[in-house]
Symmetry: C2
Subunit: 167 residues, 2 copies
Amino acid sequence: MKISMHAMSVDLFVHTLSNLSAVLEKGIAHAKERKFEPAVLLASRLAPDMFPLTRQVQIAGDIAKNAVSRLAGQDPPRFEDTEATFEELHARIARTIDYLKSIPASAFEGAETRDIKIKAGDRSLEFKGLQFLQQWAIPNVLFHATTAYDILRHNGVHLGKRDFLGN
Amino acid sequence: MKISMHAMSVDLFVHTLSNLSAVLEKGIAHAKERKFEPAVLLASRLAPDMFPLTRQVQIAGDIAKNAVSRLAGQDPPRFEDTEATFEELHARIARTIDYLKSIPASAFEGAETRDIKIKAGDRSLEFKGLQFLQQWAIPNVLFHATTAYDILRHNGVHLGKRDFLGN
């Protein structure tokens, strides 16, 4: 057990996304119990100009996928944003996790000093790999995973932080 | 620039907490603009059985403080939860950041394999240092910082993810 760019990106994101799947599962269970259409939750938002649940889940996975690709010096696969059901979101998360796990730890050699440039809206940002992981990738993935949780929690889904953190 | 337990805990949490202060600042500005008592925001929640904003901020800082102490093999200082204003929350965050920065990087030597036991509610959890950082400390601090942001955003405060991620 040794700290590495691989451990702090792939392992952390696989854990986060696995827990996010479990959190979504509780959303489905809640909709069934209350007998409403689960898609209502997928379209829920915390503010009119924030993204709804579906998009939060897509973005959490995409940032993980794209950030890990950049750190490993690979071209990320592109996933179309077509999910319309919880089942499809689960499949999207599973596909993202498979991709993250497919990158060998050896690809992260020297990743902490790699130059990384990204476009964020109208900005062009430049990082060294370590700073990119600390200040961009990790907070960004966890921001969207938490917001997905918060949307469900705000809508009455039975969740506790334990679901978010996993076991 | 090298990856280390210190870089992935102290540096990451100082960044997160500094951005959280900037996010809170926008909450004050919004209350002033709309001419309502800022304390209304401090007591806001996303669900009746979730913690309000003040507590989210206190917990984000406390988890950072306590996790870093454990990783560095130190006893964390205890901060009383007495904050009733935004100004006091800012001071609490500043005090937490000062503490985080006071721990020398050398105290984290071998932190990745350190045995860490914590109590979480009715559970007793055991980790190795690296796993504690990946699965407990980082997601937990970011969970509360994001939820603080989400509470403000839900209440109409003018915020974007850029405020959360910082520059």
